[in-house]
Amino acid sequence: MDWEKIGLKMGLEIHQQLDSKSKLFCPCPTELMDTEPDHIIERNLRPTQSELGKFDRAAFEEAMRKLHFHYENYNDGTCLVEADEEPPHPLNREALEIAVTVALLLKMRVVDEFHTMRKQVIDGSNTGGFQRTGLVATDGHLETPRGRVKIENLCLEEDAARRIMETEDGVVFRLDRLGIPLVEITTDPSIRDPNQLRDVAYQIGQILRSTRVKRGLGTIRQDLNISIRDGARVEVKGVQDLDLIPEIVEREVQRQLKLVEISRKLQERSAEVLDEIHDVSGVFRDTESRIISSAESVLAVKLRGFDGIIGTELQPGRRLGTEMADYAKKRGVSGIFHTDELPAYGIGEDEVKELRRELKASDDDAVVLVAHDRDKAEEALREVIRRAEIAIKGVPEETRKALSDGNTQYLRPLPTSSRMYLETDIPLFRIEPEFVERVRDNLPELPSEKKERIMREYGLSDDLASQLVRRNLVEDFESLCRFRVDRTVIASLLAYTLRELRREGHDVDSVDLEDALKLLEDGKVSKDALRDIIASMADEGTAAEEAAGRLNLLLLSQEEVESVIDEIIEANHDMISERGMGAMGPLMGQAMGRLRGRADGQMVNRILREKIQERL
């Protein structure tokens, strides 16, 4: 696709949890809890006045109904700060230092004075009704093969509370995650190529991993901003697999192009959405459709000029009807039916005809049905009407969720610009230039630099070096390199052997690797024996030498090796006279069969060769 021509613009927003000892504004641990909470607190949030603009009681009560929350607290894991029962403590300097480190690695300019802000969030995920956040640095950049990308902002902020479940009575959150420090990194929205977007995400990820950040599921979140010239800005949340980014972009662009085309078509047809919601339960009195017959009522709405359009595919397997259904589902129904897909689902042709007659729908019109209890069905159809009206105009600004196949699904409208004001409970924090310089002087090696260096310094292969870097094992590797042992052996032990043993169920994390390597360094065992020795150390909890002895893997002395080889030569006298040096292969096999793990292969080879030559 010609990205330039369609005016593709993309930006990236990455949230990464930091691995500081305590939370951003209190001394609680930054670990999630899986035990039963000790207390549950019940709270309401209230929209502030300026938000409502005019005085509308109905709107206010509707808003209030959804703002009832329960928060799970712990006696030890959380404190009064998360519960919004105590003012925040001063800013966590360790977290700020990590944030400044990331900022400098991204070539950013750190601000002179950090101001903590309150960013209003009233979905309950923050007990205060706002998230605390502050700008740490601006004006950075990254180099990619397709050119330089600007890093606009790096903010240090609190993670939100963890959503545990929804009940009749409101949402339940756990306070363990609330307040864990995060950095939020945003690029400017001028990335033009999907592959470049992936490169940027990957590079930022690599940079983050070289600093003290959390690892594992849910500790990093990538959001994409995607728009095309005639489309709209769409934010795609929750991208898990970076390699999927180009596919997500391509499919989102395709979706927006289709929506633009649909809008043009609808306008040509003078399509129109009628506000009226019809009760068509009568049409389906004797229906064979299970879904419909089990519902309390069936409501319908007529979309004038929409025939054939609702079934238009936007992304593989997703139609305009799917988008409408996603809107409707937000109101608690399981889905919608529309005439572009009927008859089907047990709904017969006669029923469709009857339905069209009842709504006075012409062949150009479409009808959408929802079967549910009356209130829910009506609310759901209002959403369908809203989405259909947008379809006439074009592409809506939305927050969408990334699906595992590269498609995206509607989540909610794009949030309006953030409402922010100063967090007056926390003093302004001057970031001294000396502090920034000290961090600059101690910047960690970037992963790519690290890989190059260990390949060069220790003669490792590209593959082994990549594995060590990716698994964060370089430090262990370099520390073990003080043993005079083949570096490749150490590297592959860390990168592969331990992982295999762990997978086989050996508890290798408790094994003293230095003890095992010492044995190898002293020439008491061969490198081939290392794997079995470590497995035994793990299983039996013994020292390396004892394990090697028990497994009969201690190396034999040269005399002992010679005597074994002598025995073999004696027993194969005929073969040697027959084949001469040609006997080398089979005899080596025999020798290694008896000596494996107890003698160095090269030594066996040398002695065997000498002994055969002697015979000849």
């Binding site: 703002l67 919004d84 029962e85 004075e113």
Partner: protein, 435 residues
């Protein structure tokens, strides 16, 4: 404006004022944004900018230059007046504010938080109040609770008195929480009210969506519309946003620096549990609403000393008060109502100079009993007035008021020891102090 020194000169050099949009250039970075005010206590080396992203930062100015891009306008919050029709079926409740703000408006453009005092502002923030009452709102003064003085108790009492006299069916007083229980105790003595007078406030500022102000004000209005015609204090009962406790004004004490449920009734139970929709009476022994005229006795003696006894306290402290002409002394003693022997001579001296000395306990829970130990007996012998189960702060407030009513030593003693507003009770229930 909070800018001073260098920062002020820096802004003046380009005739930039707060609210203007500027460009600040430094050797390695350029920022554009709106100049915001800076806290008075902050240094003079930084300018506060609100960037387009909404974030504030401080920009160090020693190597910076500034350029005015656009003049700003002063932030103005003007909301159209509400059209609320009075419901003749509902009671008329007055909400008067002394500085504790139960509602705020935020100007997100500048981030400024404005306290809201008018009835309209209150109703915009809490439209549910209209289900309970017709609301009238008025600001008496705006001072931080810690800066309260006895003379402000009197002013507050007069404001409440006027509201009642003008026909209010109940009055809610918004007050900072730090000294709310002093003021509620003062009004308990100064006023004789035929309608409820309810103090309330917030532990979490009212600009935040999670503020406790909302539930507190709703429950307070509910209590002000009730039958409990006493001076009371209404705040969160627990950390949940569910119910409030209605404490007797002379029995409440702030017991936690920050929690929502900071106020507890000491040596008594709360009078009631209140939700926005109902009121559940816990202690039925209260003064009921009547159609009598309100009365006010607002003479106060401000020169009363309030002294905590502690190991190592020196008699000179009390001598100083006597020399300085103080007219009453309330001691917060240890245990059953004690202070070191070394203080007894100076307390006797106070007695002989006609300065009454009252004894309370820093245990808060329980009552003083000065007959158990010899020190107590000697203190009684020196003429010290035992204050029973009265809270130390309440005894202090009461002494201020009593000395405003009479100079007669005998009468002072009688009044201090007599229950006037529920501050004293002979019976100590097991229910008052739970583990």
């Amino acid at each position: 404006m909070g800018y001073h020194g260098e920062a002020k000169r820096f802004l003046e050099s380009a005739s930039v004022e707060v609210g203007d949009t500027v460009r600040i250039k430094k050797p390695d970075v350029t920022y554009e944004g709106m100049v915001l005010d800076r806290a008075d206590d902050a240094d003079d080396r930084h300018i506060v900018l609100k960037l387009r992203s909404g974030y504030n930062i401080g920009v160090e100015i020693s190597d910076a230059s500034i350029e005015l891009l656009e003049r700003g306008s002063a932030p103005k919050i003007e909301l159209p007046p509400l059209e609320v029709t009075e419901n003749p079926e509902l009671p008329d409740i007055s909400i008067i504010s002394t500085g504790g703000t139960v509602a705020s408006i935020i100007d997100y453009r500048t981030g400024a938080v404005h306290p809201a005092f008018t009835a309209d502002d209150l109703l915009r923030a809490n439209p549910e109040l209209l289900d309970t009452a017709n609301i009238r709102g008025r600001a008496v003064f705006n001072i931080l609770s810690e800066n309260m003085k006895p003379e402000y108790w009197v002013e507050t009492a007069r404001a409440v008195f006027r509201e009642i006299r003008d026909g209010a069916d109940g009055v809610v007083v918004a007050h900072g929480t730090d000294t709310m229980h002093y003021t509620s105790a003062a009004l308990s003595f100064i006023l004789k009210t035929p309608v409820p007078v309810v103090f309330t406030g917030a532990q979490r500022s009212s600009d935040r969506p999670s503020s406790d102000a909302s539930l507190n004000i709703q429950c307070s209005v509910r209590a002000a519309a009730s039958d409990i015609a006493e001076v009371t204090l209404c705040m969160h009962a627990t950390m949940d946003d569910r119910t409030c406790h209605l404490h007797r004004g002379v029995r409440a004490r702030k017991m936690h620096t920050s929690r929502r449920d900071t106020f507890r009734s000491i040596n008594s139970l709360p009078l009631a549990e209140v939700s926005p929709h109902e009121i559940r009476v816990i202690d039925g022994n209260y003064r009921e609403r009547s159609s009598e005229e309100p009365e006010i006795m607002d003479r106060i003696e401000e020169r009363v000393a309030f002294i905590k006894s502690y190991p190592g306290i020196q008699p000179e402290i009390i001598e100083w008060y006597l020399e300085d002409g103080y007219r009453g002394i309330v001691v917060e003693g240890t245990g059953l109502g004690h202070c070191p022997d070394s203080l007894i001579p100076v307390l006797e001296e106070a007695q002989s100079r006609g300065v009454p000395v009252a004894m309370t306990s820093q245990c808060l829970n329980g009552r003083v009993n000065m007959n158990v130990y010899s020190t107590g007996r000697r203190l009684l012998g020196a003429g010290v007035i035992p204050c029973g189960d009265m809270l130390p702060e309440v005894a202090y407030v009461k002494m201020c008021w009593v000395l405003g009513q009479t100079d007669d030593q005998y009468e002072v003693r009688e009044m201090m020891m007599k229950n006037m507003a529920g501050e004293l009770q002979d019976r100590s229930s097991i229910a008052y102090f739970r583990g």
